[in-house]
């Protein structure tokens, strides 16, 4: 029943990953799948930019463009950004709080496989008659009118992967609430753990609204209900509300963990503790809270009336305050520090002005009356790429470079890392800065082309050129990963030399049980505290004892696969008579494996302490 990596054949390794419940391996799965979808979404972005490089272009047609656009937004948000962040949460958070695993290892695996099959299902639409084409927001009147099965792929795919995300969120929350090491109080938790906590809470409360919205739209499209059919009394504004009740918290679900990653990187490379730790925590919670009060700022032009618009405008502006607190705290962490410009630190430093620009344009959008002009123009596109790429993607790239040694035991090349950074940084600003002006000059978003003579030509060309820089940067990153993996030079516990938190106190990569003995935490930045007192590592909080570990299981894969099958049945039910049987078959697979799981006892296994003693720091045979 061993889960540790020894020299194994490919088949065995594959089987290991298909059945793993180890948070570190699930993290790797998330990184691989999320990374793949990032490339897919990026490729779609390139098609968008190529199409818009010159006026009246016919690189892709009108209908196809809408599919690419929709899939770009959906893939990037749901299948790339969130999973990549989930990857870091899985890889790092349990280590940071001194836990041996997450609270529900089985559910953790199930969450991944649901996301994975949902994502695959969604992307299969490309080969099965066309992708969704109603935008990532899938507004009801258009998504009901959309022909073919594209939008059904969107609905079923997101429903499946959304369930996985929700499970992941609950899992992280319980892990943080129940499984902190002795002495790790809430106010000693590293900021990445805190942001994981708040982002997970946002997932818990935001995703149900999306689930309901998707159910309603699915019922309308596949089962003849009338939620959004005006003629039968339905109302499409309900979809808009439900989508944005989810959608706005979603952007903070994305950006808070990114904040967390930077809050880890900046202190390490400034050799200084985080400035204003408690106000950082407070600001995180406040952003999470306010995130639920502002969704209608996406609906200023819907006609909700001046009272609603005014309330939501002011509430939206309020979020600038806690975010500002964070920006200044980061700056003052570096102030008086001793800054080393490693690749991760490059991203962290570049993040501050970039995100600032995106943030302040957000506040400009929040001014409702002015948003009547900005809304649905390239100004908005510029805003959200500044916050998402400048915040989330920079954080993912920084985190990859920063945590790579912890996850894989070897360092990514710093020189190549910096090349990636500069190419991406320059390309990013080239692409998106000018889009602010395109919007102000009157260019709507989601247009597959633009007609000559409206003054949009040069700016769009510049924007496209920028995108190519980002593509090259991404390729350099891939090369870096390949070279590094081939060389595979092993590193020690704390390869950056200035690690402050618990994950840097154990080997890279950590043994599958993480901590032989749970560490005793004596304050914020526990490892740093021990180092400053001249110690090498953490003081254990318990005597060496047996460690209880969960068994691997193939069931999560099967449960998710069942839903994947059922989704096809549900969709083709009306077109083919095999639809219904397939739906039933899929459900039977899912419920059957759930049944199997619940009647078969699984008590896990124990690693005996004798096995732990003889063999220092290396993985252990179980």
């Amino acid at each position: 029943m061993s889960t540790n990596a020894q020299k194994k054949g490919f088949g065995a390794t594959l089987w290991d990953f298909l059945t793993t419940v180890d948070h570190k391996k699930i993290a790797i799965l998330y990184m691989i799948a999320g990374g793949f979808f990032f490339l897919v979404g990026g490729l779609e972005a390139m098609f968008i930019r190529i199409q818009l490089a010159v006026p009246n272009n016919d690189f892709v047609g009108a209908g196809l463009y809408n599919e690419i656009l929709t899939m770009h937004g959906t893939t990037m948000i749901f299948l790339a950004a969130m999973p990549l962040l989930f990857g870091f949460m899985n890889a790092v958070m349990p280590l940071q709080i001194g836990a041996r695993d997450v609270a529900f290892p089985f559910v953790n695996a199930l969450g991944f496989w649901l996301f994975f099959f949902g994502g695959v299902f969604l992307n299969l639409s490309w080969f099965l008659g066309g992708a969704p084409d109603a935008g990532w927001t899938s507004y009801a009147s258009l998504s009901l009118a959309s022909e073919g099965h594209g939008v059904d792929f969107y609905l079923l795919g997101l429903q499946i992967s959304g369930a996985g995300t929700l499970m992941g969120g609950i899992n992280f929350l319980v892990t943080i609430i129940n499984m902190r090491a002795p002495g790790m109080t809430y106010m000693r938790m590293p900021l990445f753990t805190w942001t994981t906590f708040v982002a997970s809470a946002l997932i818990l409360f935001a995703f149900p609204a999306l689930t309901v919205g998707i159910f309603l739209l699915m019922f309308d499209r596949l089962f003849g209900s009338n939620f959004f059919v005006t003629a039968a009394g339905g109302n499409t504004v309900i979809w808009e509300h439900l989508f944005w009740i989810f959608g706005h918290p979603e952007v903070y679900i994305l950006v808070l963990p990114a904040f967390g990653i930077f809050s880890e990187i900046i202190p390490v490379f400034s050799r200084k503790r985080l400035f204003g730790y408690s106000s950082m925590v407070f600001a995180t919670v406040l952003i999470g809270f306010l995130g639920f009060m502002v969704w209608a700022h996406h609906m200023f032009t819907v006609g909700l009336g001046p009272i609603a618009n005014a309330i939501f405008a002011v509430a939206t502006m309020a979020i600038a305050v806690p975010t500002g607190i964070k920006i200044f705290n980061w700056l003052f962490t570096m102030w008086g520090g001793s800054i080393k410009f490693t690749t991760p630190m490059h991203y962290a430093v570049a993040f501050i002005p970039t995100f600032l620009l995106g943030g302040v344009t957000g506040v400009m959008l929040a001014a409702a009356a002015a948003d009547y002009q900005y809304h649905d123009t390239y100004f908005v596109v510029a805003h959200f790429h500044y916050v998402i790429v400048g915040g989330v993607v920079f954080a993912v790239l920084a985190g990859t470079q920063f945590y790579w040694p912890k996850m894989f035991g070897t360092m990514l090349n710093e020189a190549l890392g910096k090349i990636t950074f500069w190419l991406f940084f320059i390309g990013f600003h080239l692409t998106f800065f000018i889009q602010h002006f395109l919007g102000l000059w009157g260019m709507p978003r989601r247009v597959f082309t633009f007609i000559e003579g409206q003054g949009f030509e040069t700016a769009n060309l510049v924007s496209t050129i920028g995108a190519f820089f980002m593509a090259v940067a991404t390729v350099v990153l891939l090369i870096n990963i390949i070279i590094t993996s081939i060389k595979n030079e092993k590193v020690g516990n704390d390869p950056w030399g200035d690690g402050r938190t618990l994950e840097w106190a154990i080997p890279s990569p950590p043994p599958f049980y993480n901590f032989k003995q749970l560490p005793l935490v004596r304050g914020l930045d526990p490892l740093w505290i021990e180092k400053m007192e001249g110690k090498k590592g953490m003081t254990p909080a318990e005597p060496l004892g047996d460690i209880h570990m969960p068994n691997n299981s193939f069931t999560p894969f099967v449960i998710s696969f069942g839903l994947f099958v059922a989704a096809f049945g549900a969709m083709y039910r009306l077109d083919y008579n095999w639809g219904l049987p397939v739906l039933i078959l899929g459900m039977a697979i899912t419920f059957g494996s759930m049944f199997y799981r619940s009647v078969k006892d699984d008590h896990g296994f124990h690693i005996h302490k004798e096995e732990l003693t003889d063999d220092n720091d290396k993985g252990v045979k179980a």
Partner: protein, 110 residues
């Protein structure tokens, strides 16, 4: 999240004591159940008697809220220790939900 009820080490004392306490608690629960039934009957009667909606609607909502508090605190033991996290998350969910309902009642038109 420690366990607040520790055993004294003397099994027979423990068991009799605990059984008494459990029985006591069960009594409370039966009382709250009786009250819940009572509230339900009142709510149904209020509607059945055909009083004006201006009175009945807030009235039955109030009764519903009280009932739910009974359910949560007695039946679901939220009054016990160790329910801090559950309470925090339940109320947060409730807050988000209530805001949703409020907006759907005000800014989704006819």
């Amino acid at each position: 999240m420690e366990n607040n009820q520790t055993n004294t080490g003397n099994p027979s004392v423990d068991i009799t004591y605990r059984r008494k306490r459990n029985a006591e608690e069960m009594r409370h629960q039966v009382i709250s159940f009786a009250l819940m039934i009572f509230f339900t009957v009142v709510a149904f009667v209020a509607v059945g008697s055909g009083m004006s909606g201006w009175f009945t609607v807030p009235f039955i909502l109030l009764l519903a809220a009280v009932q739910v508090v009974f359910q949560l605190y007695y039946f679901m033991h939220m009054s016990h220790k160790g329910h801090e996290a559950p309470a925090l998350f339940l109320y947060s969910g409730l807050l988000v939900g209530l805001i949703t309902i409020l907006t759907f009642l005000t800014i989704v038109w006819w």
